[in-house]
């Protein structure tokens, strides 16, 4: 369980995280979504006590992270792939970490085995690929059998097999009752990985909702119409909740009306339709639209106060 309350981080005059309040619940995979630079990594570092919040607070499993006496049992984290000295082997990296809490040597072998690094664990980590670095980061996160798992962009640099593997892992960790908090800047990744979403843009909370609800709330269905007389049809369709835009050639994009309504209106006016297609906004579009709104809102408020 992670509870952030009005979490804020300021670097100089830049507000990286701006009053974030959210709760990450156990037994579910929660996606932490936002464009690059939205403040995801900063938030994760504050959860782990690596960066001190300018104001606000964050608790992990009921306490500030620093107050835990068995930290690796409480939280396992992957912050950056390849956060390892290139001259040290993956095995010794994990062993040094295990030693801090008296975790047994055999556990190091177990996590190495589980992430599929057995073949390279005794070699210097300097030559690791990004994918191997991610696996080592996941091994690091799982070392203490933690109740809460925090992974920053764990799918970066993985191939299709690796992505599928991480997804299965996250599902099983959540099924065991753990809190799983995973960041990504790609909506498409999170749609298949997470059940719950916390979306931020420019350090602010945009959405805290289930994946399905997020898509339903954010998507606006539009209809593409190609016709011989776009101007005449546009005039016919205009109404209070209807938005019509002219695309290239003879194509209109209409929102606020169904295909049935448009077809009937065209028939009544004797206008020939060449194409009539309903289009569902993709997850990526929903996400981009939402985060763009946040960016504009921020720009406007800054303009208003200065």
């Amino acid at each position: 369980m992670i509870e952030a309350r009005e979490l804020t981080k300021r670097y100089g005059d830049k507000l990286a995280v701006d009053g974030l309040t959210f709760t990450v619940s156990p037994a579910t995979v929660t996606g932490f979504l936002g464009p690059n630079g939205a403040g995801k990594s900063t938030t994760m570092r504050m959860i782990l006590g690596l960066d001190a919040p300018t104001s606000g607070s964050v608790l992990v499993n009921g306490k500030p992270y620093r107050a835990h006496t068995a930290p690796l049992r409480e939280v396992g984290a992957l912050l950056e792939a390849r956060s390892i000295h290139p001259g040290r082997s993956a095995y010794n990296h994990l062993l040094a970490l295990a030693r801090t809490s008296g975790i047994h040597r055999s556990r190091v072998d177990e996590v190495i085995e589980a992430v599929g690094l057995s073949g390279v664990a005794r070699r210097r980590a300097g030559k690791f690929s990004l994918g191997m670095g991610q696996r080592l980061g996941i091994a690091t996160a799982l070392l203490g059998d933690p109740r809460t798992v925090i992974l920053d962009e764990p799918l970066n640099g993985l191939d299709t097999d690796g992505i599928r593997w991480v997804r299965a892992l996250l599902q099983s960790l959540a099924a065991e009752g753990r809190t799983v908090f995973v960041s990504s800047h790609l909506m498409s990744e999170m749609a298949l990985t997470a059940q719950h979403l916390i979306v931020i843009g420019k350090g602010r909370l945009i959405a805290d909702t289930g994946v399905a609800e997020f898509v339903r709330a954010g998507s606006r269905s539009v209809v593409r119409v190609r016709t011989t007389h776009p101007d005449a049809l546009a005039a016919r369709l205009s109404g209070p909740d209807v938005e019509v835009s002219f695309d290239r050639d003879e194509t209109l994009t209409v929102s606020g009306l169904t295909t049935d309504q448009i077809g009937m209106a065209a028939g009544a006016a004797g206008i020939t339709l060449l194409e009539l297609t309903a289009q569902q906004a993709s997850l990526e579009e929903v996400f981009i639209n939402l985060t763009r709104d946040a960016a504009e809102y921020r720009a406007n408020t800054v303009g208003a106060t200065s």
């Binding site: 570092r45 782990l48 006590g49 690596l50 960066d51 001190a52 992270y65 620093r66 835990h68 006496t69 068995a70 930290p71 690796l72 049992r73 939280v75 984290a77 912050l79 950056e80 390849r82 956060s83 390892i84 000295h85 290139p86 001259g87 040290r88 082997s89 010794n92 990296h93 062993l95 040094a96 970490l97 295990a98 030693r99 801090t100 809490s101 008296g102 975790i103 047994h104 556990r107 177990e110 996590v111 085995e113 589980a114 992430v115 599929g116 210097r124 690091t140 799982l142 203490g144 059998d145 097999d161 690796g162 599928r164 593997w165 299965a168 892992l169 099983s172």
Partner: protein
């Protein structure tokens, strides 16, 4: 690959200072660069000591009573201190450059146990390596000096103190490097600061009037720390243990500042 088989871990796990020291020892011994730096230190102590001793035997002093057979045989310590200082520094700046410091501090969220763990693990390692090195350099040096009857025995007053004191001085310089690295978080800056601290004060003092420089000289880090490693007392320097204590105080101040910054600053 799709199946992740990871059994639960049921063993006890809790942080403790002793465990963090063991962790830091694991980090120290698992880097090839540590082995190379320690080897360099030994080679500098013994090799430079022998070379300088041979040189001095070829040109014997006019007045043998001012000849310090211990200092001559331990001349290599003056160079080895930089190797050990840099190693102490890399022990922590290496974690900042590779971002593994965040992994370390997430495992030890109180942070200070990590710095003390590094200091203890590194300090003990340095003592274990440098004591045999200075003893070997002393014994070999004296056998060369005996050709001209310039040698001194371990039983003579102040000799054991000077030999073992040199090993302690090396350890203190290593810890100073560690402290500067922790404070500045950057290898290049840390090395500049280390060389600056050990060399620059003497240069600055040389520009001042003699009455001031003679009074202040004894309090500078290098003259204070070096007093413990010679049998003949430099009239301008502090006594051997007083000087060494002052050098340790400087090191403690740097480590204290580093600890304060480590708690205060974002990782």
């Amino acid at each position: 690959m799709t199946n992740v088989i990871l059994p639960p871990y049921r063993g006890e796990q809790h942080l403790s200072q002793v465990r963090v020291i063991r962790s830091e020892w694991t980090k120290l011994r698992s880097l090839p660069s540590t082995i190379w730096c320690l080897l360099t230190t030994v080679v500098l102590v013994v090799g430079v000591g022998l070379a300088y001793t041979t040189l001095r035997v070829a040109r014997p002093p006019a007045d043998p009573t001012t000849f310090d057979a211990v200092s001559v045989s331990l001349a290599g310590v003056q160079l080895a201190q930089f190797a050990i200082g840099v190693l102490g520094m890399l022990f922590i700046t290496g974690e900042y450059t590779t971002a593994s410091i965040r992994v370390s501090l997430a495992a030890v969220p109180g942070r200070l146990p990590m710095l003390w763990g590094k200091a203890v693990a590194f300090g003990l390692t340095t003592v274990v390596v440098s004591v045999p090195a200075v003893l070997a350099s002393f014994v070999a040096g004296q056998s060369i000096l005996s050709a001209k009857d310039l040698d001194i025995g371990l039983g003579e007053p102040g000799v054991v103190r000077a030999v073992l004191g040199s090993a302690l001085f090396l350890t203190a310089v290593g810890l100073l490097g560690l402290g500067l690295g922790a404070l500045l978080r950057n290898t290049a800056g840390g090395i500049s600061a280390l060389f600056g601290l050990l060399f620059a004060p003497q240069l600055v003092l040389g520009l001042l009037p003699e009455s001031v420089s003679d009074a202040a000289y004894r309090y500078l880090p290098t003259p204070a720390g070096a007093a413990v490693s010679s049998v003949h007392q430099d009239p301008l320097a502090l006594g051997p243990w007083a000087g060494f204590a002052l050098f340790c105080l400087y090191t403690a101040i740097v480590l204290g500042l580093a600890a304060w910054q480590l708690r205060r600053r974002d990782a």
